[in-house]
């Protein structure tokens, strides 16, 4: 069970308020999509969740405990680009996460543990359709394949929260349908919480169980940096969640007082 709580979050850079008073409660196995105009702090918000930025004020709690202020294995991340390791083959890229966790000193697994890790990697490669390309290097892959690998790389470590920063932003529109299918399947398989920043409104409605809209509620024309952005709409959606077996209502969208809409995808 993963429960992400954000209380009174502010982020300022030398007098420039980027985020103000963000409050949020994300339940287990939610798929949160985040949209907003560019420069409205949605990426800053994601970077705070990731742990590469720290909030000026406020708290971020994961299952009631403060999130570590540096990136760690409880959170996965898929960036728009550059998150693959160019010196490792597709299979080794996937294996890396298992090796980093399983061998703290050398970062490499041997013998039976390596064979088990390889089995796991191969199964996931098969699931994301990259098994045939397992010996290639990332730069020999197309953009869509690279993102599939990057997602698989995060998923194999079974993070509680998977953060996606415009993961399909640089891809051909024709590819995104496949990618949506993939991400929803992985999300259902692993029961993780996903927070995805996107600029594609259709995508955000289509995928999410909860849609967050970031915007500046107040604007001072003389001092545009005086007020920051916050969550102006928090909309529960139906999403494409398959009913988790035996978990009953655990996956039902929670009412947090935002504007309610139901959108069937």
């Amino acid at each position: 069970m993963t429960h992400l709580t954000i209380k009174g979050l502010w982020k300022e850079y030398d007098g420039q308020v980027v985020l103000e008073n963000v409050n949020l409660d994300i339940g287990d196995h939610e798929f949160v999509t985040v949209i907003g105009a560019s420069g409205c702090g949605k990426t800053t918000f994601l970077r705070i969740l990731l742990g590469v930025e720290s909030p000026t004020r406020g708290r971020v709690l994961l299952d009631g405990l403060p999130l570590p202020t540096e990136p760690g294995p409880e959170r996965g991340i898929v960036f728009q680009r550059y998150s693959l390791f160019p010196h490792l083959s597709v299979r080794d890229n996937l294996l890396l996460g298992l090796e980093l966790r399983g061998a703290k000193r050398l970062g490499r697994l041997f013998g039976k543990r390596r064979r088990d890790a390889l089995d796991k990697a191969d199964r996931l490669l098969d699931a994301v359709g990259l098994y045939a390309a397992r010996d290639r290097y990332p730069q020999q892959l197309s953009g869509g394949m690279q993102q599939r690998l990057s997602i698989a790389q995060s998923v194999i470590c079974e993070p509680q929260v998977l953060l996606l920063d415009e993961p399909f932003g640089a891809l051909d529109p024709g590819l995104t349908a496949d990618m949506h299918e993939l991400i929803v399947n992985l999300w259902n398989m692993n029961r993780m919480t996903i927070v995805m920043v996107t600029h594609d409104v259709k995508e955000s409605f289509h995928l999410g169980t909860r849609l967050l809209v970031f915007d500046k509620p107040r604007i001072d024309a003389q001092v545009p940096d005086r007020y920051g952005a916050t969550i102006t709409f928090n909309i529960p959606l139906k999403g494409r969640r398959e009913p988790p077996a035996g978990l009953g209502a655990a996956g039902a969208p929670r009412d947090t007082g935002g504007r309610e809409t139901e959108v069937r995808s």
């Binding site: 294995p73 998150s83 980093l100 730069q139």
Partner: protein, 271 residues
């Protein structure tokens, strides 16, 4: 007619073209040498090919009367030993210091400026200090090469490892990497091809420092020989030695390039 920038030579053509400047230089030399020797058969400045071949035979095949050594080989061995030791130590220093400076912000804040300042000390200016402190033996010569090129390699590797996309480092941390594992599994493997590039670029300076050190205080080595026979205006020895040094340096450069493309195929551009 296509534009000049769009016309490319074929493989065979390119090979011939690349040999052309060498052939031209040789022809030019032969003509000049012939002209000077026709004027004065005792001229030593531009010796004929026959004189040079005879000198090569003397140095590369026959044993030296005094020492019983074949001079070209003992010289080459002595020089290569110093050069490779100097390069090896510099490479190790460059990787170790460069990576920790590039990756760990506190180390970078402490040492980056210091290394930048160190790298600007003219190595030849401290050669006397080396001779005073380390004596006239092998140590001073190898130290000169190390002092001359390792700051450059350290700075290059530091810059390259700091250039790694932040996304990669963050991703590795979310996969469970500690600082140590980040360095071992993500940074070091990506720095090997960079190290080879840095070594290729510092090969020229390394030879420079080697020959400078050998010219000043040595009893063998390629640089020593050239400066020794200079006293007798022995151009017939100097020119083949210079050509031999160039060939060695060229071969090392090509070897490094070959290692880079065969060992680190992932780092080759345009694949």
């Amino acid at each position: 007619m296509r534009r000049l920038v769009n016309r490319r030579p074929k493989r065979a053509q390119a090979l011939v073209l690349s040999a052309l400047p060498f052939a031209l230089l040789i022809c030019l030399y032969l003509a000049a040498s012939h002209a000077r020797l026709a004027n004065n058969p005792g001229d030593k400045l531009l010796p004929s090919p026959a004189t040079m071949l005879e000198a090569i035979h003397r140095y590369a095949v026959l044993e030296d009367e005094r020492s019983g050594n074949i001079l070209l080989w003992t010289d080459t061995l002595a020089s290569m030993r110093r050069l490779l030791l100097g390069l090896g130590i510099s490479a190790a220093l460059g990787m170790a210091c460069g990576i920790i400076i590039g990756v760990i912000p506190y180390i970078r804040a402490t040492f980056a400026t210091f290394v930048a300042a160190l790298s600007l000390i003219p190595p030849l200016a401290i050669l006397p200090i080396l001779f005073i402190v380390a004596g006239l033996g092998e140590l001073a010569k190898i130290l000169l090469i190390v002092i001359g090129i390792s700051p450059v390699i350290v700075r290059d590797i530091a810059l390259r490892s700091a250039e790694l996309p932040a996304e990669q480092l963050v991703k590795a941390q979310t996969l469970g990497a500690s600082t140590w594992l980040l360095v071992v599994r993500v940074v070091i493997p990506q720095m090997w091809p960079r190290l080879i590039d840095a070594l290729r670029l510092t090969l020229g300076p390394a030879w420079l420092f080697l020959i400078a050190a050998e010219a000043i205080a040595s009893t063998d080595g390629l640089g020593f020989r050239i400066f020794l026979v200079r006293r007798y205006l022995a151009m017939d020895v100097i020119l083949p030695y210079v050509a031999w040094i160039t060939l060695l340096a060229f071969a090392m450069d090509r070897l490094l390039q070959h290692c880079r493309s065969s060992l680190f195929a992932w780092a080759e551009p345009g694949r």
